[in-house]
């Protein structure tokens, strides 16, 4: 069983974010593996542990993002591919086109991705890649089980869970609710240094940099208008509970 996992290096959303002149100022030292991708990787590792398979992490990003491939290798991926590109201005379509160029002609059972990136929260790339490769897909997976010939993906829908049989080759995108991604141990970190990482340029994939199409544009960023400061109530529980209930009744007419 061969599973490719698409991973992305993203800003740590817990880090402070500032905007200057409509642009984001990010702390370049606080870049992490997208949490949803980490769940996809964990799912792939578990699937291949059961079937003796091979997991390869694929990342598009600048040289520095290579550290995120090392993280994936330390978690247990067997190898990595780093498609080196300056991704400034890329939208989901740009990523998807490069990924599908990479996957075209490759043999695999499944491609796993996070269901969205935690910085843009767009959730488009997985479906785009599946469509461009003309393979079936399931999004928002919360569970995967199965083997070589096919897996059953449990997808969280709007009003319940859908169990979907996904044949080979297929693609699934993962929610971070499906598992707790493993933390690399010392052994994993040591082993990761000996695992192969293939470095590719866009040229190697036959992609002309100037031909990368972006469909959409980010024209700026704005602070979300903050909430007005609220009131805090401390003291005897019965008393403060009644006070707040009364205030709510006045404000919203809950009655």
């Amino acid at each position: 069983m061969k599973i490719y996992v698409c991973i992305k290096q993203v800003p740590d959303i817990d880090a402070p974010i500032r905007i200057r002149d409509g642009r984001l100022l990010l702390d370049r030292d606080r870049m992490v593996m997208n949490a949803y991708d980490a769940s996809a990787l964990e799912a792939a590792l578990v699937l291949t542990e059961e079937t003796e398979g091979d997991v390869e992490a694929v990342l598009i990003g600048p040289g520095k993002a290579g550290e995120t491939i090392r993280k994936a290798l330390a978690m247990g991926a067997d190898s990595g591919t780093h498609i080196v590109a300056d991704t400034t201005g890329y939208d989901s379509a740009a990523y998807a086109n490069i990924l599908s160029a990479f996957f075209t002609g490759k043999t695999y059972n499944y491609i796993a991705c996070g269901k969205q990136a935690q910085d843009t929260d767009s959730g488009l790339t997985g479906g785009m890649v599946a469509r461009l490769l003309n393979i079936p897909y399931v999004s928002n997976a919360v569970r995967v089980e199965g083997g070589h010939d096919g897996i059953t993906v449990t997808r969280q829908g709007d009003t319940g869970r859908e169990l979907i049989d996904l044949p080979v080759p297929g693609l699934f995108t993962c929610s971070n609710d499906m598992n707790e991604p493993r933390i690399p141990g010392l052994k994993g970190i040591m082993q990761s240094k000996r695992k192969p990482v293939h470095v590719l340029s866009l040229d190697d994939l036959g992609i002309d940099k100037s031909s990368i199409k972006t469909h959409t544009r980010i024209t700026g960023y704005e602070q979300i208008p903050g909430r007005k400061p609220g009131r805090t109530f401390e003291g005897e529980p019965g008393e403060i509970a009644r006070d707040v209930a009364a205030l709510l009744n006045e404000e919203t007419g809950i009655s």
């Binding site: 488009l124 393979i135 979907i164 979300i224 805090t232 019965g238």
Partner: protein
């Protein structure tokens, strides 16, 4: 004159209200810009719902129906959307942001070449496309986005718009569009659906939500949550801690991963307020937080923060609200 096409989502046998909010907004936009507003219904028996759209000033209602569309598998849905886009050639296709629409947006964009802007909280039409705002970075920041093309596909968060008053009922043309679903579209196949157990209320439409977090430790705490929700006729939601432990179904999870909600009143009980949770509820009109830890981040965004043990605070809180309710009926 162009067509603004809105997908009206049918879930569990009824039209989603958030779809109608969006449809109303698109009809306004059409009127303002001299365009036509049209709706698209896709369902096993979609025609039956067309009459519910008579007060939205529509020029046309497009119908795709058949047994293949019963379970909203992305293969047939995708075929339906791309066939409709090819035939209708709208200027835009708008959808409300649901797991159903998230499931097809990317693939639809790839198969039609149409640009897509997902999960907008605001939008407006431009000369040759759409621009809008969307929350990013766990809803800490708004990103301003635009797309040029015909059509542009975009999805809109629920409760981003208030429905305009109903118009005088009018008869829109109903046109059925044949979609040929092939074996190729059915490669991923549905084995079973497990419906969520819960309050039965669609959280994205609820006016009041009571949400439980880690602080709700036991049966007694859960009963308090059910009681409060009952008194307020509220939907029940949960933080990741309680959906992950299986106490609540994961369809009730509110946050960056789960549902994004913006009710009139949100009561967070025993929820600390991790940014992933806050991302899903920060646009609620009034936020009440009950937590025993005065330094819990949820208090930073709460309008009314009650520092105290929920087991001691909730009983008198519920009693007081019940007494308000009772008084109005006397």
């Amino acid at each position: 004159m162009s067509t603004l096409l809105t997908y009206v989502s049918i879930q569990d046998g009824r039209i989603k209200r958030s779809s109608l909010d969006l449809l109303s907004r698109c009809s306004e936009e059409a009127e303002k810009n001299g365009h036509r507003s049209a709706a698209l219904l896709i369902d096993e028996s979609a025609s039956g719902y067309a009459s519910e759209l008579s007060t939205f000033g529509l020029s046309k209602i497009y119908i795709v129906e058949g047994p293949r569309f019963k379970n909203r598998l992305n293969g047939p849905l995708l075929k339906a959307f791309s066939t409709v886009l090819k035939q209708v050639k709208p200027a835009v296709l708008s959808l409300d942001s649901t797991e159903e629409s998230k499931d097809v947006l990317g693939a639809l964009s790839a198969s039609t070449g149409a640009p897509v802007l997902p999960d907008l909280s605001q939008f407006e039409l431009t000369e040759n496309g759409v621009k809008g705002k969307r929350p990013v970075m766990a809803s800490k920041i708004l990103s301003l986005v635009e797309a040029v093309g015909k059509p542009v596909i975009f999805s809109v968060r629920s409760k981003s718009h208030v429905q305009a008053p109903a118009r005088t009922p009018s008869r829109a043309d109903v046109e059925k569009i044949d979609v040929s679903v092939t074996a190729d579209d059915m490669r991923a196949s549905l084995r079973e659906i497990r419906k969520a157990k819960g309050s039965g209320m669609d959280l994205s439409e609820a006016e009041t939500i009571v949400a439980a977090g880690r602080g709700v430790r036991d049966e007694k705490g859960l009963n308090l949550i059910y009681e409060l929700a009952g008194v307020l006729q509220a939907g029940i939601g949960a933080s990741r801690a309680l959906t992950e432990s299986g106490v609540f179904d994961s369809s009730l999870q509110i946050g960056q991963t789960g549902k994004v909600v913006s009710p009139q009143l949100y009561i967070a009980v025993g929820i600390s307020g991790a940014i992933q949770h806050v991302a899903g509820m920060t646009n609620s009109r009034i936020i009440v937080a009950i937590n025993s830890d005065p330094s819990a981040p949820i208090f930073d965004i709460a309008d009314y923060g009650i520092v105290g043990d929920l087991y001691k605070v909730l009983p008198p809180f519920i009693e007081e609200i019940r007494s308000f309710k009772r008084n109005t009926f006397i």
